[in-house]
């Protein structure tokens, strides 16, 4: 798939996850026991056999860099192509570009160097486990300048409010609106011809625009051939604490778990070499997802436990999300709680939130 290159554009993604994104960008937020949000998009690109992926980062990108490393866990540690984390580091006083255009402008080399004719652009908040091969075939066959990936919303959820809705005529996009009655939602994933992209970038910069998709594409729907392509698999948007909590919990339904993880090949993430989960004599675990490296003596139900979590004897973890390497000491009771990584809850305490407003503890806290 040398004709397609990838771009994960995080410039305009807000860090909406409260305590979870105080020190990391949204794309680096842990999800579903062993992943980070960005893993889904990154894995989908790799499954599409894309060999060059750039990430436009804005700030708080250190944990993202740490997570993806050389890209080797996604088979993207390449001598040619591979993965490029591109932090903002602008030094040209004559540069007049703004917003994400600044990234496009300052990373022109990345696009020029590649032999690809098309660019797949994505954010990190639309989560699915798929590959974009069919979408790309549709894009090429239709001769479109741009092809937008859409999903049909069966139920309207708070996280859908910010998604643009797509009106298409025989596949050709005629309108992008905020009309909540239109159930066809844009996923922020699209494929664009590279030369069209570069031209639009120049045009946007010349007219002092600051948002490539809004100004380059949405405002030019009449001039461009923009197609729409619907995705039908299991998918979700994660762009708030509430949606983050709900979609983690939803994976505890066997159907959702199977559809997300087993309908396509596995989602790649950073390898961490944790041993299998150890359940000790007194463990009582029900209806939960557990990642390797956990050591369980206590009761766990309706929860998602990330790698290396320790639940000691007599501790109860219920309807909660416990991130990497947390320790829950004896007699602790947790319910509707999100613990960020490396939190230690010492003996005997009780913390209870609600599913709408989970109790969140920021990382590395000892309580």
């Amino acid at each position: 798939m040398r004709r397609l290159m990838g771009l994960i554009n995080l410039e305009h993604e807000h860090d909406f996850l409260e305590e979870l994104t105080y020190f990391r960008c949204g794309a680096a937020t842990p999800f579903a026991g062993r992943y980070r949000l960005i893993d889904f998009t990154l894995s989908n690109m790799v499954k599409t056999e894309i060999e060059e992926v750039a990430v436009f980062t804005n700030k708080k990108y250190r944990s993202l860099m740490d997570h993806v490393g050389t890209g080797s866990d996604w088979e993207l540690a390449r001598r040619h192509g591979g993965l490029f984390i591109l932090p903002p580091d602008w030094n040209d006083p004559t540069d007049i570009s703004r917003g994400d255009l600044r990234h496009f402008h300052n990373n022109r080399d990345y696009f020029n160097r590649s032999k690809a004719d098309h660019v797949l652009i994505s954010g990190s908040q639309f989560l699915a486990n798929t590959n974009y091969e069919e979408m790309f075939n549709h894009h090429v066959k239709s001769g479109a300048d741009v092809t937008l990936l859409t999903v049909h919303l069966d139920d309207e959820l708070p996280e859908h409010k910010s998604q643009l809705r797509v009106t298409a005529d025989n596949g050709r996009v005629t309108q992008l609106t905020n009309d909540q009655n239109n159930k066809e939602a844009f996923t922020n994933v699209y494929i664009i011809k590279k030369d069209v992209l570069m031209d639009l970038v120049d045009e946007c910069i010349a007219f002092h625009k600051d948002h490539f998709f809004f100004h380059g594409i949405k405002e030019n729907l009449d001039k461009l051939h923009v197609e729409s392509y619907q995705y039908n698999g299991y998918a979700m948007f994660v762009n708030s604490i509430e949606s983050f909590f709900r979609h983690n919990m939803k994976l505890l339904s066997p159907d959702a778990y199977r559809r997300l993880f087993f309908d396509n090949s596995y989602v790649r993430t950073k390898i961490s070499n944790e041993p299998p989960v150890k359940y000790r004599e007194t463990a009582d675990v029900k209806n939960s997802l557990l990642a390797n490296g956990c050591v369980i003596d206590g009761d766990v139900s309706g929860s998602v436990l990330f790698r290396g979590v320790k639940v000691q004897k007599g501790a109860t973890v219920k309807n909660s999300i416990i991130m990497q390497r947390c320790t829950i000491e004896e007699g602790v009771h947790l319910e509707n709680v999100i613990l960020d990584k490396d939190v230690k809850i010492s003996g005997g305490q009780t913390f209870i939130g609600s599913s709408e407003k989970p109790f969140i503890v920021a990382k590395r806290k000892v309580i």
Partner: protein
Amino acid sequence: MKKRCVGMLLAGGEGKRLGLLTKNLAKPAVPFGGKYRIIDFTLSNCSNSGIHTVGVLTQYSPLVLNKHIGIGKPWDLDRQEDGATILSPYTAKKGGSWYQGTADAIYQNIHYIDQYDPEYVLVISGDHIYQMNYEELIQHHEEKQSDATISVIEVPWEEASRFGILNTHDNLEIYEFDEKPAKPKNNLASMGIYLFNWKTLREYLVADAESDTSDHDFGKDVIPAMLNDEKRMFAYRFEGYWKDVGTIQSYWEANMDLLEEDLSVSLNNKEWRTYSQDTNYPPQFLDENAVVENSLINSGSWISGTVKNSILFECIDVGAQSLVSESILHPNVKIGKGCTVKRAIVMENVDIPDNTVIDGTTEEEPVVINRDYVEQLT
């Protein structure tokens, strides 16, 4: 380019006493501990000890093993200039043959070692479970100004006659090697881990290769020859957990050892990780009815039944109303509904149909289940 120490990992063992487990698999490739293959322990020791030049000598059923090692990525041994290198018996135009013995295996690969011009060569094997810092062995070797250092472990006196015993002076200098002595004078057993000065070893290998009467074995030929010439040879005492998983019974025991608390082979030791292939399976899922106690379970597994005192590899299904106890389930084993599986080792990709009962508690050794076994059931 020069390297201080080259590791030579003998991984060609047939492991005959492991029966079905090694029918199509070299012993070092046998799955172990819910996530690993036996050889992972030795490879991880190399990586953690800073030995990055490792020749892996394979011969018996090497396919799975070669694939597992690949370019050595999990162990940080994917290096263009050295790293892990698979060394299979070479087939010349007029044919090829297996290595004649452990010493011959190294002899046949002298060219491989020579290209790194090492100070030391570490000879190890890929069929033991232990965590050892070879750097400490090397330091011991240097302190003693030794020509060869052999790692030893104290075994119970009553078992000493089953091992190769090293008789040493108080300063640990070896004066005699006693292979399975009827009346052991000592209980320091050789672990089959040898560190040699390469210059010295090279001479002995060349001489050994020329000998018609030699079995070309380190224990039987090379070490005795060196002792005979009064080379400086020292023992290095290893204190940790070490297990040769030579039989079905000891294989099962070594796995069950991992369920013990105070096991020094602690897989959870962050300072000494054991690395293996990791295939990005999703987190394991325990449903409403799952009961899991005193067990190890790997990623991608889906548990609806009861699991006790067992080791489950990746992508296992345990159906509702099923009981798995004292068992080892290799990757991709699917246990149907209403089954009972006790004291069994179920091999990779085996599907156990609903309501099957397998009970190995009455047997002398745990029962090993492969596809043929299941086909006979139905």
